[in-house]
Amino acid sequence: MKNYKYSEITPEKVYNNRRKFIKSVGLGLGSLSLSSMSLLNNAHSSESNSELTSYKDITTYNNYYEFGTGKGDPYKNSQEFKIKPWSVSIEGEVENPITLSADEILSLYPSEERIYRLRCVEGWSMVIPWMGFSLSKLLSKVSIKTEAKFVEFESVYDPEQMKGQRYPVLNWPYKEGLRIDEAMHSLTTVVTGLYGKALPNQNGAPLRIFVPWKYGFKSAKAIVKIKLVKKMPTSSWMKASPREYGFYSNVNPNVSHPRWSQASERVVGGSLLSPRVETQMFNGYEDEVANLYSGMDLKKYF
């Protein structure tokens, strides 16, 4: 493991943008740089893919089927998408169900920079400087009942604005889920921005979830509902192809997808001559999350 200095990893332009952003949202400078340092250390347990993916690649190469199935479609088709007003309800097995606007959430929970790897189930990866905060903070607001065992995330359904939802490519609205202990883990993030800027529409604005040790599709975008439930929810991808997409979908090089390799990945933004890199257990976050799955057969619960 190598510790990175802030200056080593952040291009100057980005750094400056970030300063501006901090001023604009009025966050404390001290808390931001401290918290992001520790996360930086976590995020880079591998030297092979430690460089930040460019802003351009992060914002133009996306899987977001609500805006189309092509990688460039989300960027092309989401620019007019309206994210105001926006509200998120937290309901189900909770003592105090609430509905908060996106603005309220942003002001209640200060965002910090969180640099995490993203590993797509298709076999490519990025390193993304997200802005966000732990989902556990938001969930602590509603007093979760002891019956609640899982969390279900629901993304927005708006076929008027989201072209891709006019076709039954997936079961709309997009649904994802986590076990409660996964949801409460500090790495599980409510994302509010990236590269120190507000979250672009194509990346799941205004609010999305990010779970760094799971394949990308587990991280629901543009969420409108967080529901605490007793039973394991069925996600949209599980419904589409249960043989290919399991509930857990932890990044695991030892459990191959029926149709493509999970042992290695291509780092997005590399040249023709950049080699594949080995995929790491739990996407490199094994130290932090392996204890959630002790005693579980990860081949069975894939």
Binding site: D57, T60, W124, P258, R259, G269
Partner: protein, 194 residues
Amino acid sequence: MLTQTNKIYLKVVIFTLSLVPLFYIIYQILTNQLGPEPIKDITHHTGKWTLYFIVITLAMTPLKKITKLNIWINYRRMFGLFIFFYASVHLMTYVGLDYRFDLTSIGDDIIKKKYIFIGFTAWLLLIPLAVTSNKRMMKILKDKWKKLHRLIYLISLFGAIHYLWLVKRDLTEPLIFLAIILILLTFRFKFNKN
């Protein structure tokens, strides 16, 4: 009717045009126009052009029957060889660029993943066709040549299925390919009966 010289000119033009997809991707590589996953772009591009040349090659016989012109057949062999050419570039992109000749991983892929298995099989089956595509082999093999070259029907189906099996969710394009290939294949049976 075209004169012999015109036929040769036409052949040169078609040959050059058939290389355009190759030059196009080379141009994109050199000018840095490929997306964030350039190897995937090259793989998809050459794979698609393999399928396009399968369709073009299979279309020659129906076009001959429909237009009652023999000229189409003059170019069938060249198109067929371009199937092999683009399929080989496609395969080499996967083997050399993507997996850097890591034969253990590739072998594992071929055994475990059915779309790679069927694609690789299709490429293997193309080899005897490419080798026997010259006039000398036609003479040596006589009747057997025609039978051997009917393998392209099977190869074309394998190619379409290879595409169908690898696509994640939206099956529209591979199904269109499969449909076109099936239509072109039914022409064979229809005209054979007549």
